[in-house]
């Protein structure tokens, strides 16, 4: 008994000391600057405050809803077909593409001097690009499109992880045969039986998607509206400024957008509550033969793969394009950008070591936490994680930097590691918590009654059943670590060179070819890890 208490105490100590406390302290330091009356006054005076807030929220909501619909349609159409096994691998590959890379490639596809315009121009004999408003459109349509493209694979990935769990699969198979027996069509089964059950597990991932979409800066700069821009980019510019007054306005803006996001989430929650009786009426109204629109789902799935393949090819070509004036269909190529990248091997190694240690540590801490702490203790960790992910990373990063300054951790390897651990663990917490907690404990009870030790039951029963989710969480953590820029820049004071640091500084010169090459390079490590995770997560009992 004393031993268990010691283990529990140890787990709690490490999770608090390495994650929750530094996170809360960072937030406290960061928000300190948000309590200046001048900052708030300046924010209210900003002539673009309301239109830009509207743009941020609208693109966030539209991106989330559209991505959810697309993901559900694809999953329902492909579930247990021959495409199903490879779905996770395909989605993992898509997840590995950095947001900004996707935005750059998509932008080159649809912009007035882009590929589509060149192909049309070939037939219409255009010599100058058309004056289309396809990127940077004032309504944020291009930005929403980019968000849907990037977030749909994430939602599918989460759903596929859930649906590949043996316990879930078994339940669903039973429920489905019962429903079919009662005369339900496949669409009716998904809408009335599967989706309501899945929804609980989708809640946090959807919140992340929304918060991310409404606060994204790099994608918005690459493809989003500019006049007014989204509120997140205004805040980002303010926080970046060397002027203390602008920083204060940026801090006030951060608090303001955070409350706006919470308000939207609250409204969404209230809506689901009010709509529930209506929904229930729909659910209980006799069986319907409505089928899943399989064709639409499969076409959607294929077009996603097609678009991603096209965008990746475009990135490769762009990385080789020295100059590519309109209306040429093929650029003048050179390996210059790749030559520049070949000097960065040290940075690559640092980034990989950091990614492995940070996501490995986070995984051990989280699993230990789930195994020793009661379910309701997760709440503070989840909320803190969500706060970290929803706030601009520079804002949190500056708070963290001030805290590390007082602790004497700036410019040290330990500081760099801890700064990577925070976002990595936050993402992994959100990805892993629900799946891990939803595990049907009866399996363990059964195993326990067979007198095996707890550890052996974990190793032989529980973890193998959860391995898809555990590996998925590791892959997400790895991918998050690889793209962290702020920690290397601020906390490590530029003493350690990491891959994103080289990327961000070199691409501040906005050389599109170099940006494309680096984006591809940033895609590779997470791509390998997602691929490995998808393979490792495959069912042991798969017969195909």
């Amino acid at each position: 008994m004393a031993k268990t208490r010691l283990v529990k105490g140890g787990v709690a100590f490490f999770v608090l000391a390495l994650f929750l406390l530094p996170l809360l302290a960072s937030l406290a330091f960061a928000f300190q600057s948000g309590f200046s009356a001048e900052g708030w006054a300046a924010l209210w005076r900003h002539p673009q405050l309301w239109p830009s807030l509207w743009l941020s929220l609208a693109t966030g909501v539209a991106g989330t809803v559209l991505a959810l619909i697309a993901a559900l349609l694809i999953v329902a159409s492909l579930f247990e077909t021959r495409f199903w096994q490879n779905l996770s691998v395909a989605m993992g590959a898509m997840l590995a593409v950095p947001h900004v890379a996707l935005a750059v490639a998509l932008s080159f596809l649809i912009m007035p001097a882009g590929l589509i315009a060149r192909i049309i121009g070939l037939f219409l004999q255009w010599q100058t690009p058309p004056q289309w408003v396809t990127t940077h459109d004032p309504f944020g349509i291009a930005l929403t499109l980019a968000l849907v493209l990037k977030e749909t694979p994430f939602i599918i990935w989460v759903l596929a992880g859930l649906l590949s769990r043996e316990d879930v699969k078994l339940n669903f198979a039973n429920q489905r045969s019962a429903a079919f027996g009662l005369g339900h069509g496949s669409g009716s089964v998904w809408l009335r039986i599967f989706i309501p059950q899945l929804f609980g597990n989708l809640l946090w991932p959807l919140v992340i998607v929304f918060v991310y979409g409404a606060t994204v800066v790099d994608m918005s700069l690459a493809i989003g509206p500019t006049q007014p821009p989204t509120l997140a980019t205004i805040i980002w510019a303010d926080i970046n400024s060397e002027q203390v007054a602008h920083n204060a306005r940026g801090a006030a803006g951060t608090i303001f957008i955070s409350f706006s996001l919470i308000t939207v989430l609250g409204v969404a929650w209230a809506l689901t509550k009010t709509l529930k009786p209506l929904w229930r009426a729909l659910l209980t109204e006799g069986p319907s033969t409505w089928k899943v629109p399989t064709m639409t789902g499969q076409i959607k799935h294929s077009s996603f793969i097609g678009i991603y393949a096209l965008l990746l090819v475009l990135l490769v070509v762009l990385s080789l394009a020295k100059s590519w004036p309109f209306p040429q269909l093929w650029p003048e190529t050179s390996f210059h950008s790749w030559g520049q990248i070949s000097h960065q091997s040290g940075a690559v190694v640092t980034s990989l070591v950091l990614a492995f240690t940070a996501s490995g540590t986070a995984l051990i801490l989280l699993v230990a936490w789930f195994e020793t702490m009661p379910h309701h203790f997760d709440r503070p960790l989840l909320w803190a994680s969500l706060a970290l992910l929803g706030l601009p990373s520079l804002f949190v990063g500056l708070g963290q930097y001030q805290m590390f300054l007082y602790l004497g951790l700036t410019g040290t390897g330990l500081g760099l590691f801890l700064a990577h651990l925070l976002p990595v663990m936050a993402y992994m917490m959100i990805v892993l918590a629900q799946g891990y907690r939803a595990y049907d404990l009866r399996y363990m009870v059964t195993a326990g009654s067979l007198n095996a030790s707890l550890l052996s039951n974990l190793l032989r029963i529980k973890w193998p059943m959860l391995k898809a989710q555990i590996w998925a969480a590791f892959a997400v953590g790895f991918a998050v670590s690889v793209v962290q820029y702020i920690p290397a820049q601020l906390v490590a004071a530029g003493r350690f060179s990491t891959l994103p640091m080289e990327v961000v500084t070199l691409t501040s010169g906005a050389n599109r070819s170099l940006l494309a090459a680096f984006s591809l390079l940033l895609t590779v490590p997470p791509l390998l890890v997602y691929g490995a995770a998808a393979l490792m997560g495959r069912s042991r009992w798969r017969h195909t």
Binding site: P47, P129, H136, T226, P325, L405, A493
Partner: protein
Amino acid sequence: MLTRRSALRFGAVTALSPLVSNFAFAADWAAVEAEAYGQEVFFNAWAGSDAINSYIAWAGDEVSKRHRVKLTHVKISDTAEVVKRVRDEVKAGKTNGSVDLVWINGANFKTMKSEKLLFGPFAETLPNFALVDVKGKPTTTQDFTEATGGMESPWGMAQFTFFADGEKVPKPPRSMVELAAFAKANPGRVTYPAPPDFHGVTFLKQALVETTNDASIFARPIDKANFDTASKNWLVFLDEIRPTLWREGRQYPKSQTEITQMVADGELLIGLTFNPNEPANLVAAGILPKTTVAWQYEKGTIGNSHFVAIPANARAKAGAQFVANFLLSPEAQAKKNDLKVWGDPTVLDMAKLKPEEARLFAATAVPGSVSLPGPAILEPDASFVPLIESTWLAHYAEG
């Protein structure tokens, strides 16, 4: 070993300070040099250009060879990051700061200077400072009208410059009025970056200078009321040019580099830059066509200088001064001026150099170099910037 080192040091002193006559001055500098020996200098500098990074790496090799000073380029994407980092360090009482030398000018310098975050004055004690053309290039001691006061050492020159494909723009517009006429004839093919982008603000300053009758107002601080009076013609001009701009002036690119990309793609006709040699660089890199031309306005365009400064809490202040002095040496300035290396114009006065040193700077016209130069106009007082930004934003807030 010791003697060889001393000889090396002595050699370096004589090579780098040809004009030192004052003995005490030389003795002070000798002390700085002695302290600098073997120090590691963390140079925080914008790293968005391969050419610039290679040049800094070269400078690092040189100071290491000459004086065992280890120059580490801390690559940054925005100098404001450094301002914030130093501010926080000083606030936290950290004396061995993370920054020894920073590449800086304009608002970042003014902020650091006024918040007492800088070490100095040191610039004028650098032996090579005597070679700087402070009379002919007044911006080497006036950074956006803020007196440098020796708190930063000049490194290079900049002047607002336009560029285009000479085949598409045979007669470059050489004033804002001509630019407006060009935009009218070629609707949707000209634009400028939205403020607070630095190049966007400079474009607006240039327009303000050209539309204001009384040029004397720019040398002094200005308040909102006076600005509103002085900027009447400016707003008329902006309203007039706006519907002829890219996207009818409802959206603006976010940066100068984005505009450069759009010029290279063919979506825009005219690009702008602060480095007069950037178009030639881009031609050499194959990004812009060989038919590219660069020009400045007939009556002049806004010019300024860029500098290096030492934070108040730097660890290696002596090493940083040694590097700053090396960066001012004729050899380093000539190398930087070379279009094949970086193409950043020198701050030195050719008349103060030995003939063989001056010869190093001889430039031949290459595709994309400035063919129609204009005089440099001093930056308006720093108080204009927030007023330009807020007036523009209030006017065009909703696209």
